[in-house]
């Protein structure tokens, strides 16, 4: 049976990708950012996940012009890195897991989530920067990836609570997939940042750290945060944090925190990163 073994959250700032691609990770500005990911890189070489369900948002690269899907699930064999106006990032092609993606597509719609299914799309920094942060500069990504693109750009986005419910449904769908797969789920984007208007540059460390705390033991409170509250407190782009709730919900009731990192700034953004494991005790209790 497939099983979700861990959840990871991280910001996905484009400048982080540019710093990696241009060999700037050891410069004084960037080193503190990348130091925060040393632990997870080593940990991932031991965990060796087979598949990552990667929740991210498309930044007007494949979506958002002609079609604005609330939840878009990638069902393709492969995804090319997008050219976002400066040439595509020099990173490997992202390979999908067609059978698990098809299973998710089936199960999640049966569970009343009206997904958009993507049989072709390019993937932008929202997806490739997290892969670079977890796996470094490699010739081939060591995992298959199922992209789950969430609209966090055009109001109304899905609510945080709806994202939570989708995460719960993903957990059930993965558990019912017969192949023995080590699956991780990642929530990306955030933390607080605003990329527009005179309020650009907003950073709210109190909100961000309360959010990180809440992922461990106050998830009911996180589910209640309204879109307006995200916009006011975490900036117009901070609402990307709803994607972290998909990840968190898929891990079940209790989690163990393996790693936590917070740093301001990377370009315009507060960087947050957390690694969580479902608590084994709860799994055992369910089985009993």
């Amino acid at each position: 049976m497939a099983r979700i073994t861990a959840g990871i959250a991280t910001s996905h700032v484009p400048a982080i990708g540019a710093a990696i691609d241009h060999g700037k990770t050891q410069e004084p500005y960037w080193k503190p950012v990348f130091d925060g990911y040393d632990w997870v890189k080593v940990w991932e070489t031991q965990e060796k996940p087979d598949v990552v369900i990667l929740c991210y948002n498309d930044h007007a690269s494949a979506l958002m012009l002609d079609v604005v899907p609330t939840f878009a699930l990638g069902c393709a064999e492969e995804y090319a890195p997008a050219d976002e106006g400066w040439g595509a990032r020099p990173v490997p092609i992202v390979y999908g897991h067609v059978e698990l993606a098809a299973h998710l597509a089936e199960q999640l719609v049966l569970d009343d989530f009206d997904l958009t299914l993507m049989n072709h799309m390019d993937v932008d920094h929202g997806l490739t920067v997290p892969l670079s942060l977890m796996f470094g500069q490699v010739d081939a990504w060591p995992v298959k990836v199922i992209p789950l693109a969430v609209n966090v750009t055009q109001f109304p986005t899905p609510s945080g609570n709806r994202c939570w419910m989708l995460g719960e449904a993903i957990a059930h769908a993965v558990e019912s997939f017969p192949e023995d797969l080590n699956v991780q789920i990642w929530g990306t984007g955030g933390m607080s940042h605003q990329l527009q208007g005179p309020r650009a540059g907003l950073i709210n460390p109190e909100f961000d750290n309360a959010f990180l705390d809440g992922l461990i033991d106050d998830t009911d409170d996180l589910r209640k945060i309204t879109r307006l509250e995200y916009l006011r407190e975490s900036g117009s782009e901070g609402i990307e944090l709803i994607m972290w709730l998909i990840m968190r919900a898929a891990l079940g009731k209790d989690v163990e925190q393996l790693q936590r990192f917070y740093h301001v700034p990377a370009s315009n953004t507060a960087v947050g990163h957390i690694v969580l494991k479902p608590r084994a005790s709860e799994k055992a209790a369910e089985a009993a």
Binding site: M64, V68, E84, G85, A200, E233, E237
Partner: protein, 133 residues
């Protein structure tokens, strides 16, 4: 009437912020189509060679074209634009996203970068026009 957790008019109550909605998305459709065309290197070259002629290929209104030519990102957002589309333009110019974003704050690029290094803009006084908090 169904109840909502807050009146949608509250979206207009955040200082210095424009919430990107379905009607704004429609207003900016052709502007955004232009922006996304810059994801192709040949199109970037054609735009650089003659910006005005390239813009005339798109059914944008004249105000939108003028704002593109002036790289006036606040104005482009007033005219319906969203930053994720608009950075295709600043990326084409070789600007960092920080430079594009900072250009909307009334600060110089150096001042904005310094503010970010010092921890960014505090949310204090920036949450609500009405409540002034």
């Amino acid at each position: 009437m169904r109840t909502r957790p807050y009146p949608l008019a509250d979206l207009e109550d955040i200082p210095g912020t424009t919430v990107f909605t379905a009607i704004r998305s429609r207003e900016a459709y052709h502007l955004h189509k232009f922006c996304m065309s810059l994801m192709d290197a040949a199109n970037r070259d054609a735009f650089r060679a003659d910006e005005r002629a390239y813009l005339n290929r798109y059914r944008m209104n004249e105000e939108q074209k003028q704002a593109v030519l002036g790289r006036d990102f606040n104005r482009l957002i007033d005219l319906g634009g969203n930053i994720y589309f608009l950075v295709k333009l600043s990326n084409t110019d070789g600007w960092s996203v920080q430079k594009a974003v900072g250009s909307m704050t009334g600060m110089t690029a150096d001042e904005y970068a310094a503010m970010m290094r010092a921890g960014g803009r505090s949310p204090e006084g920036q949450r609500s026009i009405r409540e002034d908090n």
